[in-house]
Symmetry: C2
Subunit: 223 residues, 2 copies
């Protein structure tokens, strides 16, 4: 770095530079625009963070959850439950400093056994990777931010006797199976607590934001 860049650039644009002010203003705008009244108190801060992650206050209308889902997630996270994710983007969106219990964050998608296992099962790598969660799944926090097939496969495995996670944060995104997988989650017959976003919207940023919100509320980190 040149010495010249030890100084701030000349201000060409009028923008907020203070991280705490950015968070404060962002959350204030979200609270002003989003219809948080339809949510239980335990989910309002979570919804603020989900909206903050995608820029769309109207996702509130598509949120679906089971009673006590936020409490189940907070308790599991506080007790150090592992966090299981379908993609690296979710893994890297989780803010480690907010995991007071230093929870393990696991994405098995790149496990060298996954490609062959997907071939054996005639399914996607994302679905096959779920089978490698088995030893950590009991009481875990599952955060799915990309693949509908991972969520469907998990529900099918649980039906067959896979261990039960503490909560499923289900945010697959897209046009083929995403809405359907989240509908299946919201109708899961295993009484597994869940939080999800109906329809096509979702994604890794929202899934990570859900974990971050449930891990420690609404902090004001630098951004």
């Amino acid at each position: 770095m040149n010495d010249a860049f030890a100084r701030p650039p000349a201000r060409r644009y009028d923008y907020e530079r203070d991280p705490a002010a950015i968070y404060r203003q962002s959350f204030a705008i979200v609270r002003a625009e989003a219809d948080l009244d339809r949510l239980p108190e335990s989910l309002r801060d979570v919804a603020v963070r989900l909206i903050h992650a995608c820029g769309e206050p109207d996702i509130v209308a598509d949120l679906a959850w089971s009673d006590g889902a936020a409490e189940a997630a907070r308790e599991a996270l506080g007790q150090g439950a592992p966090i299981l994710t379908d993609v690296k983007m979710v893994e890297y969106g989780i803010i480690r400093s907010r995991l007071a219990a230093r929870n393990e964050v696991v994405c098995t998608l790149d496990d060298p056994r996954v490609a062959d296992h997907a071939g054996d099962l005639a399914t996607t790598r994302s679905a096959a990777a779920v089978d490698f969660w088995q030893d950590r799944l009991a009481g875990a926090v599952v955060a799915i931010g990309n693949a509908p097939t991972a969520l469907f496969h998990l529900l099918e495995r649980i039906a067959e006797g896979f261990p039960r996670p503490a909560v499923i944060l289900g945010f697959p995104v897209g046009f083929v199976g995403a809405a359907e997988s989240k509908q299946a989650l919201s109708e899961n017959p295993f009484s597994i607590p869940y939080l999800t976003l109906k329809g096509r919207r979702g994604g890794s940023a929202i899934a990570a934001a859900a974990v971050n919100a449930l891990a420690a509320g609404l902090p004001e980190e630098g951004r």
Copy 2:
């Protein structure tokens, strides 16, 4: 893994399991629903992938670009230009197998010097991290998927003499500065090619999708 899980689960749900079919169906739905006609031919495949990443065909109306931006990005990527990102989520969303030139993907946010530098400049860590791009910035592909301050800061540094990237893929998201930073990008007086999404929407998945699309078109990887 138990032997029991060497077999596929019993099919409780009717969903597409074939990765190639999922991509094919997804892209077909996007092409049917999105108004791609308003885009130049060089950006239509890119737009399909951006929509695929967020589930929202209507983002097409908010896309903005400079003439030749896609060509500039494809040429830079093909020649091995480094890819500079503001957050790890973008870094991990870029599919390495699509980078035929084995481009370096760099996120400096976790550089140990960044926190102090942000304090010295009285700005965010995301903005301060941009200063550590300096040595790689000439001819680089910049992909910003989170922080408006990173994009504003980059434009201010370029005004002061920072090297010029080949293209800026600008997708900050959120309520404070995101729309304004993308407006500034689209009005940049440096003639730097750009692709951006006006308004509040954006994010790391869209930024990574832009790189992936410009790196190799529309493949059908496993998902």
